[in-house]
Symmetry: C2
Subunit: 204 residues, 2 copies
Amino acid sequence: MARENPRSPARKPGEPTLTEQARRAQLIDVTVRLIAENGNAGTSLARIAEAAGITKAAVLYHFGSKDALVRAAHESALTGLVEHVGAAVESAGAERAPAAYVLSMVGYLRDHPGHTRVIVDAVADGEDRRSSERWRPLADLMHAARRAHGAGSETDAGLDLRTTALIVGGGIDAIVAEHLDHPGFDPLAAAEDLVAMLDRTLFP
Amino acid sequence: MARENPRSPARKPGEPTLTEQARRAQLIDVTVRLIAENGNAGTSLARIAEAAGITKAAVLYHFGSKDALVRAAHESALTGLVEHVGAAVESAGAERAPAAYVLSMVGYLRDHPGHTRVIVDAVADGEDRRSSERWRPLADLMHAARRAHGAGSETDAGLDLRTTALIVGGGIDAIVAEHLDHPGFDPLAAAEDLVAMLDRTLFP
DNA sequence: CAGATTACTTACCAGTCGGTTAGGGGGCGT
DNA sequence: ACGCCCCCTAACCGACTGGTAAGTAATCTG
């Protein structure tokens, strides 16, 4: 009774609607790309919706909030990296596992530039700031490598492996960041330098 | 003629107005603190004004735009760091200059937690992303240290000093970041580990 | 003591943000 | 053939952003 005049079409006449699964996948894809280009804060729901060819409200229909969508995008970008690094570490011997970790991680990020900014962003924005936790797997690999090499406990010659892992992690971040906005930079060569530094420290 | 009714007081009757110099200094101070706590994007003009006890418009009266204020805050936070590191490097011998650089930088950031996030933020937000440029002074110090030690050119044993400086810089960033949200963490001890790694790499 | 200057205030603006609401078109099962 | 449900749109919200316009009290200057 208030106002019920038939407004404009409620649906684009041209393209068919996608199934929920397909739409979710598409939206995650688009979101990863946009966050990669402009960061999370610089990516609005409206822009995501526009890039997907639907409206903002439709995006929120699938993912109740922007936060949920961004989280899904982060997760999607991360699983690829985790699987890649996991496989590389597993196929390397215990002694070379830390090197495999560093090299495969940098290599993956080089080959998936879209995911890189998203992951960096996820780490920077989210509560994943707890760096020591972030690099704990690397510290564990380093510990195992030293034992496999016959070296002593964690603090041999005043060396703290947790701290070393944090430093190496910082090196990885720096290499990836440099790669992001210096196209001419070769991240894998830098990663090999980093591995050389690590080896000199790990196996004195 | 349109509307000229005398509105409310144009000035807080209580506190006296500050001189331009004093107000600018206070605003920079407040801005550094707020950016340190919530980052640049998370710090609005209104919040800065509130913390300073004046209105948003008054802030813009002193610094024509938010950007100008933030730039001033960044500059203020940076000059202290640059002076401190410069002095430390100068008082160290050429051979120990890289170590002095790393240790004094981490030490300063530990002792000035307020400035830390601001500097990190300035690097992340601004166009100072060109990390290689950022750590170029360190690379130069490393080069000089190797020559003072009688070591060969930059690429001795496949070692690229620019890349090494980038990696060490990443380590510094990681240590500082860890210090920021892990109060129990000792950044100077970690910096000493980093220096040990660097020495092993620099003087083989 | 008059006038200009300094350091503000209130009020307002246009734009963007994430999120909500009401409804409607198209394909499906019956 | 019909009704229902899924996927979607248009329109709107309130909160917040940086920035502007106009006016005014206290202080300085002549």
